[in-house]
């Protein structure tokens, strides 16, 4: 009985997010979190308390209201401040994600080979 109960609850949990999930992050939040505040020390626009970042946020909001696409907005900022303003370089350069994964797997495999009883 208990066994079926577990299975039943598990299945509910598995399908639940499809029904209830709601994305709460607005486009503004996503974009301001991925843009660096160029005058701060490693903070994003979203986090930074500086006035400069405040002005940049107003521009960003305007861009969103004017219906610019994410790509257009990122292009605008990169053209002005260089690529370091994009804090998600892995979005345009997949190698940044794939290489560490490969490294980790190679490391894990070698480690496993070394310690395992053949």
């Amino acid at each position: 009985m208990k066994k079926y109960m577990t299975l039943f609850l598990f299945l509910i949990l598995l399908i639940l997010p499809i029904i209830v999930y709601e994305d709460k992050d607005s486009r503004y939040e996503k974009l301001s979190k991925s843009l660096l505040c160029p005058v701060c020390q490693g903070e994003t626009l979203y986090d930074s308390p500086s006035e400069y970042a405040d002005d940049m946020r107003s521009v960003l909001k305007e861009q969103i209201d004017n219906g610019l696409s994410d790509e257009q907005i990122m292009d605008y900022w990169t053209a002005r401040f260089g690529e370091r303003i994009n804090t998600n370089p892995q979005d345009t350069n997949l190698l940044l994600i794939i290489l560490p994964i490969i490294f980790s797997f190679v490391f894990g495999y070698l480690f496993y080979r070394k310690v395992r009883n053949e």
């Binding site: 577990t6 509910i12 020390q41 370089p89 894990g108 009883n117």
Partner: protein
């Protein structure tokens, strides 16, 4: 006067350490180690006295303290910048040297003393030859001091008011606690390095070194955990962005040794019990300390931009030389012991104790590797392409997040790990009730928070871990006392389970809004009403504070803007935080425009749960304290 005494005393310390390295007398070293501790304690006190007496003839004090600095922050100014923090670093090293000799030492040879003394001499040398916190001021700047001398008894010039510490460093009392606690952890990882290299210096003798190294790693690990947690708390309370971890380079280089030390605390156990992983343990024991030096090098040499960055022209090269020297020692001793390492036994049961620890070590080291790649990649990128690049939070979230979550799942098996393979079916039947409770909690919270799969994966694992360990503690508490390394592990794991619950709530549920208000307004944010009262200004010796009282639920708190005198930097915003177990409402002033205020309201979920988890993990040391 203080400047000259400090410089001369540093020299005496240097000579004392050199004597330790070259002396062959076996009965002398205990006295010299004690003398070394006294000297560094005196140096520490001396700089504190200088800070409290506002001795602005000292370069460091003129530039990093001011007459108007409040006493607590004068005290903390000792580690507010590079030169002073190296003094603290040396003092901590000397404390550990003394403790090592008193409690851990188990050899009759002198290699350990010589290696340890050499490490302290190396850092002590930096304060003598490159830049000393006692260096006297010989040329004034418009504010503070511009040029210094490293020689004692010179004609010094005195600036009339100091420049004062960085405003961020004098805005919260945690500044007086976080750095010393962190240093006790970070620098303490020198112990396993000294133990491993010195015990294996003359080729393998016995298995003793791994037990000592394990014991000696544990307390630095606790301090490192507590230090990182306090840093996160400081960031949350002071930086005004409602965050606690930014994957900032300096945070990363404290996290890499933490990951490696956590791995070592586990893998050393399998060597003690089953003689496996011997070679790997040697590598880890040394890598912890080498990663500390490497981390200090990349964050203090000025090659990286960070909230914590302070650098000085020479320290980069100096640390690089040290890194090379310590790494050569590590490799040299490793090569000498190849035969011994070959005697390491293979792991038989992949789902038994050794197998779990192997998985744990692979995941923790891979995480350390990824964090390292993310931290140094921008440096390589800039030198090859001459363009700058920023590694933001999402890089680490995507790569390290899932790895550490898998660890959370593995930890659920930690209540009863046996040498033989675990029978998963049996395990599920034994823990059926806990699994069902967890499923119910996960379902309810998923519906309540309208959550995603990321949330479900994290919340199920972390709740299951917490529930299973809590039950284990409660049922076994009736029969045994919570003592010994087994319970250290259990309490730490419980803390990590609780922490992960808080973390996933925070990451997935928090939201914020920017509002422009004036005094007297009532603001609705997240179904709560906040009343804005009239602002008032407070004039203190070191700063002016604009306070904006905000009322919620008949509680009144100030959001404020601190404008520091003596500082060209912008004003610092202190938040008003209304706390509850589920979430904090965190309000900061962004801009003041005449009588209008631009406020940022943030609803930060899970913060209390997160601190509770970290505190539980740090408190695991109680199980190791002998009664």
């Amino acid at each position: 006067m203080i400047s000259s005494i400090g410089i001369v005393l540093s020299w005496i310390g240097f000579v004392n350490l050199a004597t330790l390295i070259f002396s062959k007398k076996k009965n002398l070293f205990q006295t010299l180690v004690r003398v070394n501790l006294y000297i560094h304690f005196l140096l520490f006190c001396l700089l504190e006295i200088g800070l409290f007496l506002d001795d602005f003839s000292i370069y460091y004090i003129a530039n990093h303290s001011a007459t108007s600095t409040p006493p607590l922050y004068k005290f903390a100014s000792l580690w507010g910048s590079l030169d002073g923090s190296i003094l603290l670093w040396n003092f901590v090293l000397s404390i550990y040297f003394y403790l090592y000799v008193k409690y851990y030492r188990a050899t009759t040879e002198l290699y350990d003393i010589k290696i340890f003394a050499f490490i302290i001499l190396f850092f002590n040398g930096f304060t003598i030859f490159s830049s000393s916190p006692f260096a006297g001021c010989i040329q004034l700047a418009s504010l503070g001091c511009q040029d210094f001398t490293l020689l004692p008894f010179q004609d010094l010039v005195i600036s009339d008011a100091g420049r004062g510490p960085n405003p961020l460093l004098q805005n919260h009392p945690l500044m007086a606690i976080h750095p010393p606690v962190l240093y006790l952890g970070y620098v303490g990882l020198v112990l396993p390095f000294v133990v491993a290299t010195s015990e294996l210096f003359n080729k393998y003798k016995d298995e003793n070194w791994i037990k000592i190294a394990e014991k000696a790693t544990y307390f630095p690990w606790v301090f490192l955990t507590a230090g990182i947690s306090l840093g996160a708390a400081w960031s949350y309370e002071v930086l005004g962005w409602g965050g606690y971890w930014a994957w900032d380079p300096v945070e990363n280089v404290s996290f890499i040794p933490w990951l490696l030390a956590t791995a070592f605390l586990h893998s050393s156990k399998t060597q003690i019990k089953e003689r496996t992983l011997i070679n790997w343990n040697y590598v880890l024991a040394c890598l912890m300390f080498l990663s500390v030096i490497f981390g200090t090098f990349i964050t203090r040499s000025g090659v990286l931009i960070s909230v914590h960055a302070f650098s000085n022209g020479n320290i980069g090269t100096y640390l690089l030389i040290g890194l090379l020297a310590f790494t050569s020692l590590f490799i040299f001793i490793g090569i000498n012991n190849v035969e011994y390492f070959k005697s390491s036994k293979k792991v038989k049961n992949l789902f038994g104790r050794s197998g779990f620890f192997v998985a744990n070590n692979i995941i923790l080291s891979a995480s350390a590797l990824i964090v390292l790649i993310g931290t140094v990649y921008p440096i390589f990128y800039e030198s090859f392409f001459e363009r700058q690049l920023t590694m933001g939070r999402s890089f680490y979230d995507i790569l390290v997040g899932p790895l550490l979550l898998i660890l959370v799942y593995l930890m659920t098996f930690s209540t009863k790990v046996t040498k033989v393979n675990l029978n998963l079916k049996k395990w599920i039947i034994q823990n059926q009730n806990e699994i069902n409770i967890t499923l119910v909690i996960s379902i309810i919270s998923t519906v309540y928070f309208k959550a995603s799969y990321k949330f479900v994966f994290a919340i199920f694992g972390s709740v299951l871990l917490s529930v299973i360990i809590l039950k284990n503690i409660i049922t076994r508490l009736k029969r045994t006392k919570l003592q010994g390394t087994y319970w250290t592990g259990q309490v730490s794991h419980l803390g990590i389970g609780i922490f992960t619950i808080g973390l996933i709530l925070n990451v997935t549920q928090s939201f914020s809004n920017e509002l422009i208000i004036s005094a007297g307004d009532t603001v609705n944010f997240g179904d709560k009403n906040f009343t804005i009262l009239s602002p008032y200004e407070e004039i203190k010796q070191e700063k002016n504070v604009i306070n904006l009282p905000i009322e919620f639920d008949s509680k009144e708190k100030n959001a404020s803007l601190n404008i520091f005198k003596n500082s060209s930097q912008q004003a610092i915003s202190s938040p008003a935080v209304f706390r509850s177990i589920e979430s904090d409402t965190y309000i900061t002033i962004k801009v003041i425009d005449d009588d209008k205020f631009k406020l940022i309201f943030r609803e930060n979920y899970g913060i209390f749960i997160l601190w509770l988890g970290l505190a539980t993990s740090s408190a695991s040391f109680l199980t190791r304290v002998k009664k």
